[in-house]
């Protein structure tokens, strides 16, 4: 039971990270109708930028952990958001009215560009950082000595996710930008006729998605203590799985899907085999798409001729 509780905590933390990435997929798919294949690599770039900012701050002699975290978070979000904007501008916007496979292929190309760009720029080796946030709370200690731990990093990850998700939900439901985004999701032509700047709205979607991915990158860095140039690929596919599982286009769905994938992956590793955890995640993707193509909270897609 204790083992189960510990895995539950780990799974929820991992799921929060996946959920943050999944939001980027689901928003872009909702509005532009394409899979932003490079989104996983945006997450990776976010991790790298967080790492570099962290290094600079530490070498400048800063020791106050909350200040460091806040600065790293803001810098990573800002720069990664610009990456998201640039990627959309270069690789996707010119293809808005191209044939249907073009944006996908362009996105794959962009994914390679980002992945190899960070390999060239920062080297292929894994970059570890010393744990910034240490300590935790012992929730329960069983008779045979197994301790259920809730570390401070885990609390930070979950709290940050909840806060950001609240801000983001408010943004989508209560601001002008959110309204524009929802309008573009329904009908771009009509939205444009009613004075919505469609290009700008789509750009902002990518910017917000990338900023959230940067947060996920920072959380990943804090939680696992390392980044490498290849981490975006698998994390990206899993987050996409989460988006599909939750129902693509649905924001709460993305978060729910992320948690589900995190839990499934953690429990699979804990009770079956660590080696096949990625296989499990990918199999879920296939199974969900076959039996539940609309996901948990998605709307059925009506095809019009």
């Amino acid at each position: 039971m204790d083992y189960f509780a510990q895995q539950l905590i780990n799974g929820l933390v991992l799921g929060s990270i996946y959920g943050l990435i999944a939001i980027g997929y689901t928003m872009v798919y909702g509005i532009v109708g394409m899979i932003n294949f490079a989104h996983g690599d945006i997450f990776m770039i976010g991790g790298f930028i967080a790492l570099i900012t962290f290094l600079i701050l530490v070498s400048l002699g800063l020791t106050a952990v909350p200040v460091i975290l806040l600065v790293v978070l803001l810098v990573a979000m800002a720069i990664t958001a610009l990456y998201g904007w640039t990627v959309e501008r270069i690789a996707y916007r010119p293809l808005r009215h191209s044939f249907r496979l073009a944006p996908m292929l362009s996105a794959i190309g962009m994914s390679f560009v980002l992945m190899n760009y960070s390999q060239v720029a920062q080297g292929a080796r894994v970059k570890p950082i010393p744990p910034l946030i240490t300590g935790g709370h012992t929730l329960h200690e069983s008779a045979d000595g197994f301790v259920v731990q809730l570390s401070n990093v885990q609390i930070l990850v979950v709290v940050t996710t909840i806060v950001l998700l609240s801000i983001f939900t408010w943004l989508v439901s209560h601001t002008r930008l959110g309204r524009d985004m929802r309008a573009c999701e329904q009908d771009q032509t009509m939205a444009a006729l009613l004075g919505v700047d469609v290009d700008r709205t789509i750009s902002m979607t990518f910017v917000i998605g990338a900023a959230l991915a940067a947060v996920a990158g920072l959380m990943y860095l804090l939680y696992y203590g390392l980044v490498d140039f290849f981490m975006g690929f698998v994390a990206g596919i899993k987050a996409f799985t989460a988006a599909v599982l939750g129902g693509i286009g649905s924001l709460p769905g993305a978060m729910l899907g992320g948690l589900a994938i995190g839990l499934i992956e953690t429990f699979w590793s804990a009770y079956f085999s660590v080696e096949y955890k990625d296989v499990a995640a990918f199999s879920i993707l296939i199974v969900v798409l076959i039996f539940m193509p609309t996901g948990l909270l998605g709307r059925p897609e009506v095809e019009k001729v």
């Binding site: 010119p94 293809l95 096949y276 798409l289």
Partner: protein, 441 residues
């Protein structure tokens, strides 16, 4: 990289030097922010696991400078060329000439391919490269059936390549079966897996299909890595037997081909044999594809590519159409995989990564989906290009990714050729009002 597409053609055409400078300045500013940390700072883990960093502001400055200059050049080019569409880039006269040359090109290429071992007899490097190119030509033609003809975006094609390679490797090393028995088996097994993949994804389309095939490819690779008892895991399978000429080995032994023919043994014989083997396999792929294209099933594939809904409305069974496309493409992938295994003598999961799938897909896309000649030329250009950049190993995939993006922007229907449906209604026909109830149909 940060060449910003103009907001609207109007403003960029009417604009003068201040506009260009402003735009270049903005691009440079964006580049400065983007690259500030990633290029300007280099991190590396030291021997004690401690991260250190050093600055590279010189590199950063030069990259920002390049972006500034490049932005000006691109903007000038754009104003000079005017708003050109993809069609205008190649004038019709040149296109006609190209298509005439294209008809001659295919036989010329074929004759050249047949003569390669004669011309380059003693140049092992070129022969090896030619075999590699032909392997990718074959893979490209195989994937072309799925992507180019049936329009199903398959990102996991390398899975079938892997199935073929491992089928041959395991059958040959465990049971000692010859290449010629294993080759069809590898094809059948790969086709079987193609159907296995095809069944679940029948209802999916476009992007979803792409992601599922990608997941499938990764699953196959992960299973190969982890099922160590069968596949040897990351260590791969080694000691895969070389192919024989219908039972006659191509080695230095007494019953080898050289001894039987009474000629002096040379290691080149085997290379040349492999060359003709893959050439034959590739041509088989091509021939089958061209023949299939004229059968109802091929027509159905092309119809499916153009419009799935219309296809269904016309009573085409999309289930069998998709499954046969997957199975056919997978079968050729399996053949190519078996060949790959026998040529290398050693296979490991590292040869079957997603990058490989993307490379084959890029060949198909670059060649113009559906065009057989285009795919062959694209494979030549791509693999040849990779060889040229061999010294710049780390930049290779970077350039590859950029090329993929640029091709999609510049000519999304392929650089070399695009194959229109084999049967095509060239003009809309007015139907007599007797045939329809109200006015024109």
């Amino acid at each position: 990289m940060t060449a910003l597409p103009s907001e609207t053609m109007q403003t960029s055409r009417a604009a003068g030097i201040p506009f260009i400078l402003k735009k270049a300045f903005l691009s440079a500013l964006v580049a400065l922010v983007l690259f500030s940390l990633m290029i300007g700072i280099r991190t590396e883990a030291g021997s004690d696991g401690q991260l250190t960093y050093w600055t590279r502001f010189g590199d950063l400055a030069s990259i920002v400078g390049i972006v500034f200059g490049g932005s000006i050049v691109i903007e000038l080019l754009r104003q000079w060329l005017g708003p050109t569409g993809a069609e205008k880039l190649v004038p019709p006269a040149v296109q006609r000439g190209l298509s005439r040359a294209g008809r001659l090109l295919a036989p010329a290429l074929l004759i050249f391919a047949l003569l390669v071992p004669v011309i380059f007899y003693n140049q092992r490097y070129i022969l090896d490269l030619a075999i590699l190119v032909l392997t990718y030509v074959m893979l490209g033609w195989g994937l072309n059936v799925v992507v180019g003809l049936a329009g199903l975006l398959d990102l996991g094609y390398v899975a079938f390549y892997a199935v073929g390679a491992y089928s041959y490797a395991l059958l040959a090393t465990n049971f000692g079966w010859s290449f010629w028995i294993c080759l069809p088996l590898a094809g059948i097994l790969a086709a079987f897996w193609g159907v296995m993949l095809g069944f679940p994804v029948l209802r999916l389309r476009g992007d979803y299909l792409a992601i599922v095939t990608l997941a499938f490819g990764e699953i196959i690779r992960l299973v190969i890595i982890n099922w160590q008892d069968l596949t040897g895991g990351p260590n791969g399978v080694s000691g895969i037997p070389r192919p024989t000429l219908f039972g006659i080995p191509l080695d230095n032994s007494d019953d080898g081909l050289a001894a039987k023919l009474g000629i002096e043994f040379s290691a080149t014989h085997r290379i040349i044999f492999l060359f003709y083997l893959i050439l034959a396999l590739a041509l088989l792929t091509n021939w089958v594809t061209i023949r299939l294209r004229r059968l109802p099933i091929g027509r159905a594939w092309e119809a499916l590519r153009e419009d799935e809904v219309a296809c269904r409305a016309l009573g085409i069974n999309t289930t069998t159409t998709k499954l046969t496309a997957f199975a056919t493409g997978a079968m050729f992938g399996g053949f190519a995989g078996a060949f790959f295994a026998t040529r290398q003598g050693f296979i490991s999961p590292e040869s079957f990564t997603f990058q490989e799938s993307a490379l084959v897909l890029a060949i198909v896309v670059l060649g113009g989906m559906g065009s057989q000649l285009g795919v062959a030329l694209a494979a030549l250009a791509m693999i040849g290009g990779f060889e040229l950049f061999r010294g710049l190993e780390t930049y290779r995939m970077l350039v590859f990714g950029m090329a993929m993006v640029l091709i999609m922007i510049w000519r999304p229907r392929g650089l070399i050729g695009h194959r229109a449906p084999t049967v095509y209604l060239t003009k809309a026909q007015a139907i007599s009002s007797d045939l329809v109830k109200e006015g024109h149909g």
